[in-house]
């Protein structure tokens, strides 16, 4: 459907709100975003399956306020597949489809970080620089 300039502006404002959660790290909303990289590197190491798994588990467990979103490349392709959880900005590396259950149980439900999957070689400052 063809949209007028005004309508496009409205869409922009709507979408911007959603993006804010991802760009504004201190946001205090209850909603969480699980970002799954779908760049070339991560796709080749099964990020599509990871995305599906997250969606299925969330549906199964009937978890509210969590959205699974596919994203473009984060830059650390050799450490892929990359999964980032916002707003807390947790950076998981080399995630496998089998890890999804644990991420949901430990991170999303219990609110604890899955230490074993954290991207360790990169300290936060430099990690930010790369993103």
């Amino acid at each position: 459907m063809k949209k007028s300039l005004d309508e496009i502006h409205k869409i922009r404002i709507e979408k911007k709100k959603e993006l804010d959660l991802r760009t504004n790290i201190n946001s205090n909303t209850v909603e969480k975003h699980i970002l799954v990289c779908h760049g070339t590197g991560c796709t080749s190491s099964k990020s599509e399956e990871i995305l599906e798994n997250f969606k299925n588990i969330i549906k199964e467990k009937n978890i509210q306020n969590v959205r699974v979103i596919k994203t473009g490349c984060f830059g650390l392709c050799a450490k892929g597949p990359i999964v980032i959880i916002r707003p807390e900005d947790t950076f998981y590396a080399m995630v496998t489809p089998d890890d999804c259950e644990e991420i949901i149980n430990t991170h999303i439900i219990e609110g604890k970080i899955v230490e074993r999957l954290l991207c360790k070689d990169i300290d936060r400052e430099k990690g930010k620089k790369i993103r």
């Binding site: 459907m1 063809k2 949209k3 007028s4 300039l5 496009i8 779908h38 760049g39 070339t40 590197g41 796709t43 994203t71 473009g72 490349c73 984060f74 830059g75 650390l76 392709c77 050799a78 450490k79 070689d121 990169i122 430099k126 620089k129 790369i130």
Partner: protein
């Protein structure tokens, strides 16, 4: 904004082409607008042939809309109504997402006829390339879009005067386009506040090779190679030393250790014999042989030369043969002289950028690692141990503790000695695979 205002903002921003040559984008737009014709085209170069580079790919996969939007802005500015994206068929995800994005834009009326109720019409089509490196060269790319064999045209005339089907054509790289909307949104001062005097904005590099964090990095122009390799790239794995980095892929050159603090911008890189190129950045540690590096890139250009002009078709082949001789331990000092002669001639006499820049990896490795070439030619020695034909792996008697680990790992049983005896390598059996070298806990094996 009027057409001229758009062009003025892009000119003021200082944006330069990210496809390799670094031509000022605003100027290119101005020239194409100035060409008088009722039909003009906008083309996006998404061929990305530099081995190891995938910046453009990630933009197309991650944010295809930013390229479409920029192409529409460009079309408006120069007065075109038709655009083509030339993307290689090896990028299936990029193609798929581009198609989705184009359909979405058409649905919303952002592409098509009478966009936002103005009399501006613009639509975009995708053309798939078969993955020939030369088709990244702008005129060969245009030939290919026209359905002909991908061979370069003689310039001038430039595409801005006579491009697709002889009509004025604007051709820019994916990453160049990806900067456009942000410049229009945030203004030229914002953009030109990032970077150096002559190179504005940021540049994305595909960081690869012997470096800890392999992937994509986006840095402000003027960032030094040291910062990219050590701070962002996390340094060299296995505690090894940095030897050189190759920028610009097969058209570029190597940057040795003494230039680690060179700021990465168009001019500085050119000055030290390399070039910005499209953004491939391959890091090499001290186990890499520079003659092999030159040979690798020459192999690439020889197989990618389209064959239209003799210097590139035959000259690069002769250069490769010399490099192969050197690596096999059959070269001579005369060969180094011949390499230089050939390189200079090919640079001068080739039709397109592929041939003109093909000798660059040889010239720059010769410039910084001449001694290594001489060792190959005269002493028949490859210190990096990469040239298998020449390398002779030996065990240092003083360092060897007789643990026998090398023996255990040797796939051809070439290592002699028993118990705690100092081990010896039987050179007749040794296939120079280097397995013993990596397995020796006392660093007793080398040449």
């Amino acid at each position: 904004m009027s057409q001229d205002e758009v062009i003025e903002v892009i000119k003021q921003s200082g944006l330069r082409g990210r496809g390799g040559a670094g031509f000022p984008t605003g100027k290119k737009w101005e020239f194409t607008k100035a060409s008088k014709d009722s039909q003009k085209y906008v083309v996006c170069n998404a061929d990305e042939g530099d081995p190891g580079a995938f910046m453009d790919r990630s933009i197309l996969e991650g944010d295809p809309h930013c390229v479409l939007e920029a192409m529409a802005i460009a079309a408006y500015a120069i007065g075109a109504n038709k655009g083509y994206i030339y993307v290689r068929a090896e990028y299936p995800i990029a193609v798929k997402r581009l198609k989705i994005a184009i359909r979405q834009a058409e649905d919303y009326g952002i592409l098509g006829e009478n966009i936002f109720d103005t009399d501006f019409n613009f639509d975009i089509e995708i053309r798939l390339g078969a993955g020939a490196f030369v088709c990244g060269e702008e005129t060969a790319l245009l030939e290919s879009i026209e359905g002909k064999r991908g061979q370069p045209r003689v310039k001038p005339p430039y595409p801005a005067q006579s491009g697709l089907w002889g009509k004025p054509t604007l051709i820019n790289n994916v990453e160049t386009y990806a900067n456009i909307s942000q410049i229009i949104l945030k203004g030229s001062e914002w953009f030109s506040s990032i970077g150096t005097e002559t190179s504005k904005g940021t540049k994305v590099f595909a960081l690869g090779g012997n470096v800890n964090n392999i992937g994509l990095v986006e840095v402000p122009m003027g960032t030094t190679l040291r910062e990219i390799v050590y701070d962002i790239g996390g340094g060299i794995p296995n505690g090894r030393d940095f030897k050189a980095a190759q920028t610009g892929g097969p058209s570029g050159g190597c940057i040795p250790k003494e230039h680690l603090d060179t700021p990465i911008d168009y001019e500085s890189l050119k000055q030290i014999g390399s070039m910005m190129g499209s953004g491939g950045l391959i890091v090499m540690d001290d186990t890499k042989c520079m003659v092999c590096l030159a040979k690798f890139y020459l192999e690439f250009t020889v197989s990618e030369s389209c064959g239209k002009c003799t210097p590139c078709r035959i000259g690069t082949k002769r250069m490769l043969e010399i490099l192969e001789r050197l690596c096999a331990g059959e070269g001579s000092e005369l060969d180094i002289y011949k390499l230089e002669k050939l390189a200079a001639n090919i640079q001068k006499s080739s039709i397109c950028g592929l041939g003109q820049s093909a000798p660059n990896p040889v010239i720059s490795t010769l410039k910084y690692f001449r001694e290594e070439f001489r060792q190959h030619a005269i002493q028949k020695e490859c210190k990096a141990l990469e040239c298998k034909a020449m390398s002779k792996i030996t065990i240092n008697e003083e360092k060897c503790k007789g643990c026998g680990l090398c023996q255990k790992h040797c796939p051809v049983n070439a290592i002699e000695g028993t118990g705690r005896e100092i081990r010896m390598i039987n050179q007749d059996k040794c296939i120079k695979c280097g397995t013993c070298l990596t397995n020796c806990p006392f660093h007793a094996i080398g040449n």
